[in-house]
């Protein structure tokens, strides 16, 4: 972590500055040209000169020397208040968050009370009790701020406590102290550091402020120098600068060190060390795929996606995650796009609506819809299709709805956007839509907020919202993955009964078989096989499809190992030039790896496969782990 900290120039410069100031302050008696109270009446209130590099204050006190001595107070005060802040705030926060229950309630109440009294006032009262005792004041400052740290640590701890690794540690019989020290504390450390740095900046501000008010220590401080300047604004405004510069840069340095520490801590474990890359973007495969796929165009398609490629920045490098995907839809049919995570299935349909997340962008590909051609990289023109012609249903029904508006409001705005309905007609349409998705009590649902709905109900509402713009095509991205099987079956029934053209994205072959008529199988960003469901499930012509179906426990004999596929899907940055499945394929030949494999038309049926040896697939031997 220390190493990574030193890779952050701003943080390093800040650290150097703070350390320099620290050394200079400690060494003040040795290096300061004058004593802190040494007067030079002849040169009072002067600007910088050879004798006084930073000028002089009242009575000719040397500003440079006083700054050096003043640093001692500030360092000590900051350290004292930080210790008080951290040693009270952190343990109580951990305790409240980890224990919960009564402990939590008591600690929360105490922090509520501490919140209600302005901290500065308490610090000032302490100074009234112990005049001039700045150490006591700074301890008080740390203590009154500690509750806010405790609260932050508490909520961080609560979210960590819910993590499975804490459950695992508890199940392993490890002690609470061990779990707090080794599991919770390191995870909340980043939060603590950020707040400690913020607090330190505030504490320095307060300490100098006390000096300015003249209620702090009798020793010289930076704040006193500001106070002195304030009394001489008229005749020597220069005095504001040296003290101000020191205070500002000192606070700034603390803030920047805090940022650096936080980033360095987080990077320590979250950076995924990428294997040194082989080639990244393969243009060839996309081109080949596009040409070969043209041979497999369905008759009179409603919508054609042609040669879609999408890139994301992964670890700062543009990386292709969808490479030349093409498929078409007949009016009214349900096509399944099936694949594992990382296959590019969700990215594909997001690209069709110009809704790629993060750094994602379409690098090539067109879409023909109706009698118009769309560049898939032209997000603006795709946006015009959204809702009214092509609608989307998402995976997580709960997060698909805005939590703070009612169902009625959210449906009404879609209806108003895409139709001419007004007033009562909108309300009638809302009820009609909710009935269409077979919600038993549409009136009640319309009045509800999303949090009042079950997952199944929310997904029905989400489908109703997709239907509200009266689209022709519905893109359903894992619409039942988050639901229980009995609810899933009902949602699939609803989708089947819509009579719309549907693209169903799924990883579940059972769902695919239940709903879709045709399937597009994706593997590692490419279409590997296309055809009717009966053909693909009954007689796959790509080794991946075959191996995946065989490894499904549904087909397995109890007591015999599943014929699993070895290895894992390669991450996009490691995709080879040749067949993406070659490293896991039991049929792989040397030539599979040399050049991009084109899609070929499957003999004897309407379909394509991206395999050089499709005839060998039927007799393929299973591979076991």
């Amino acid at each position: 972590m220390i190493k990574r900290f030193f890779h952050k120039p701003l943080a390093v410069i800040s650290l150097v500055w703070v350390v320099t100031l620290l050394v200079l302050s400690i060494a003040a008696p040795l290096i300061a040209p004058y004593g802190p109270d040494q007067q030079d009446i002849m040169h009072a209130l002067e600007g910088p000169s050879a004798a006084h590099p930073l000028g002089t204050g009242v009575l000719g006190l040397d500003v440079l020397s006083r700054l050096l001595y003043g640093g001692r107070v500030t360092f000590l005060s900051t350290a004292i208040s930080l210790v008080a802040y951290l040693s009270v705030g952190t343990p109580f926060g951990l305790l409240a968050g980890y224990r919960g229950g009564l402990t939590d309630k008591v600690i929360l109440r105490v922090s509520d009370i501490a919140y209600a009294i302005p901290g500065t006032v308490i610090v000032l009262v302490v100074l009234a009790v112990r005049p001039g005792d700045e150490d006591a004041a700074m301890i008080a400052c740390g203590l009154v701020s500690a509750p806010s740290l405790a609260r932050v640590v508490r909520s961080a701890t609560i979210s960590v406590r819910e993590e499975l690794f804490i459950r695992t540690a508890v199940v392993s019989g490890l002690s609470d102290v061990h779990i707090l020290r080794k599991h919770v504390l390191p995870t909340v450390m980043g939060t603590v550091i950020v707040h400690a740095a913020l607090f330190a900046t505030a504490a320095i501000g307060l300490e100098t402020g006390l000096g300015f008010l003249g209620v702090g220590t009798r020793q010289v401080t930076w704040g006193q120098l500001v106070a002195e300047a304030s009394k001489n604004l008229g005749n020597q405004p220069w005095l504001l600068l040296p003290s101000g510069f020191i205070i500002v840069t000192f606070i700034l340095a603390f803030g920047l060190i805090g940022d650096g520490l936080r980033d360095a801590t987080a990077e320590g474990y979250s950076v995924r060390q990428l294997p040194v890359g082989r080639s990244t973007v393969k243009d060839g495969s996309a081109a080949v795929a596009a040409t070969a796929d043209a041979d497999f165009a369905v008759a009179e398609p409603l919508l054609v996606v042609d040669g879609l490629s999408v890139a994301f920045d992964i670890a700062g490098r543009p990386t292709t995650v969808v490479a030349g995907v093409s498929f078409s839809l007949r009016p009214g049919e349900i096509v399944g796009v099936v694949g594992e995570s990382g296959s590019g299935k969700s990215v594909t349909i997001a690209a069709m609506l110009g809704l790629l997340k993060g750094t994602g962008r379409v690098t090539s590909g067109t879409m023909r819809y109706g009698d118009r051609d769309y560049e898939l990289s032209d997000v603006k023109s795709l946006a015009a299709l959204r809702g009214g012609r092509v609608a989307l249903i998402g995976q997580d029904p709960m997060s698909a709805l805005d939590p703070v508006f009612t169902v009625r409001y959210q449906l009404a705005e879609v209806i108003r956007t895409h139709t001419d309905l007004k007033g009562a007609a909108v309300d009638a349409r809302i009820i009609e839509l909710l009935q269409a998705v077979r919600l038993p009590d549409p009136e009640l649902v319309a009045r509800s907020y999303p949090y009042q709905l079950s997952g199944g109900m929310a997904q029905r509402v989400s489908i109703a919202a997709a239907l509200a713009g009266e689209p022709e095509v519905i893109l359903a991205d894992e619409p039942t993955t988050a639901l229980d099987v009995t609810v899933q079956a009902e949602i699939l029934d609803v989708l089947r009964a819509l009579g719309k053209t549907v693209v169903l994205v799924t990883h579940d072959w059972g769902v695919l078989v239940d709903l879709a008529e045709r399937a597009v199988v994706l593997y590692a960003g490419q279409v590997v096989e296309q055809g009717s469901i009966a053909d693909i499930v009954g007689d796959p012509k790509h080794p991946y499809t075959m191996a995946l179906l065989r490894s499904n426990p549904y087909f397995a004999a109890p007591g015999r190992p599943l014929p699993a596929i070895s290895g894992a899907v390669l991450p996009p940055q490691d995709w080879p030039a040749g067949c993406h499945f070659a490293d896991r394929c039991p049929l792989a030949h040397p030539e599979c790896a040399t050049a991009p494999v084109p899609l070929v038309v499957t003999t004897g049926r309407a379909g394509v496969t991206r395999c050089l040896f499709p005839e060998d697939v039927s007799g393929m031997e299973g591979v076991s782990a």
């Binding site: 459950r167 229980d484 079956a489």
Partner: protein, 351 residues
């Protein structure tokens, strides 16, 4: 498919169960309301056997696991492990039990502390609970890693450097390195991709068998449970509605809820799925999703059951042992009169 029934596991062995849950109830307090998560559930697993626990989300299957693992207190009922009561243990007693009972959870990324190296996570329990020497820990880690098909170079890496499948192998290694007798797998393969899931299922099956482990395997995926389990228990609204030999429950379900579950689970076989869908739609359904947990006095499935009769609304059915070897709680498909007397008639005595 039907020939599988012939190979169905014979009647449960006479050995006493390693873990036995009896009339377990768990009440949660959530925002001032009491939620009955587990409602007088009973199940038992004989040493060396695997029990699959299925049910939808909120059915209480994870809560049962949490009680066994000491994460959640039981409100009433008993849990017995190797003849000794398991609930209401002190922290020290739990720590001693941790050696014998271990768990693998669903999310491989969540179950490893991201800030700690794999070696620290895997060796943690040996070192801090069992006080095993560092040298001995190294030896045992190497051997368990070999068993899950990984090398010792993984010990110095952080969880973020692994895929989900690899992490789940490591989670299994972490659970098994202390050589437990009972392992609780809570949706342990559910978040994995299909092609990787099969590898992890094979690994679990192999290690369970080789080590004679007793396995409580919780999943919502009926086909995975059927493949891995000797017996299956079906949970609905916190109650066990059916339990019996795996093939019997999966291929010849008796309880209307189990039937609904089987028919609703889609399968990657065009013919079979068409049949499932047809019989599901044939049955019809009363999908007034009432709050099953609120209906104490009736059958919990009454509001969704297509075969409902009067008694279902007024009286809760008890598990009845049927000649098929399954125990089913249903007034319609398993009335008392059909019950066979077994020594386990205490099943019905949950008053």
């Amino acid at each position: 498919m039907s020939d599988l029934i012939a190979t169905a596991t014979p009647a449960a062995p006479a050995a006493p169960p390693l873990i036995e849950v009896e009339n377990l109830s768990v009440v949660y307090r959530s925002k001032g309301r009491q939620v009955l998560a587990v409602d007088k559930a009973s199940l038992a697993i004989a040493r060396g056997r695997t029990l699959g626990l299925v049910g939808e989300s909120g059915s209480g299957k994870s809560t049962i696991a949490s009680v066994i693992l000491g994460l959640v207190p039981a409100t009433s009922g008993s849990v017995t492990f190797d003849g000794a009561p398991l609930v209401r243990k002190t922290r020290a007693q739990r720590a001693a039990l941790a050696r014998r009972i271990q768990a693998v959870f669903q999310d491989p990324f969540g179950s490893m502390n991201p800030t700690r190296k794999i070696g620290e996570t895997l060796g943690e329990m040996l070192r801090y609970n069992l006080q095993v020497s560092a040298a001995e820990v190294a030896v045992r880690l190497e051997s368990i890693l070999a068993e899950v098909g990984m090398g010792t170079e993984v010990l110095d890496r952080f969880p973020s450097q692994f895929s989900g499948g690899q992490l789940q192998r490591l989670a299994i290694a972490r659970a098994l390195v202390v050589e437990p007798e009972l392992i609780v797998c809570d949706e342990a393969v559910s978040s994995l991709d299909l092609s990787v899931q099969a590898q992890v299922i094979n690994l679990l099956a192999r290690l369970t068998k080789a080590r004679g482990l007793t396995n409580l395997f919780i999943s919502h995926d009926l086909s995975v449970v059927t493949y891995l389990s000797d017996e299956i228990a079906v949970l609905f609204a916190g109650q066990v509605v059916e339990r019996g030999p795996a093939a019997q429950v999966a291929y010849h379900p008796t309880h209307p809820y189990t039937q609904a579950l089987v028919l609703a689970a889609p399968v990657p076989d065009v013919q079979a799925q068409a049949e499932r869908r047809a019989s599901r739609l044939d049955r019809g359904h009363a999908d007034q999703a009432g709050d099953a947990h609120a209906l104490r006095q009736s059958c919990p499935f009454a509001s969704r059951c297509p075969f409902i009769i009067d008694i279902c609304r007024s009286e809760r059915p008890h598990l009845v042992a049927l000649p098929s070897g399954a125990r089913v709680a249903c007034h319609v498909n398993a009335p008392m009169a059909m019950g066979v007397m077994t020594e386990a008639s205490e099943e019905t005595g949950d008053e």
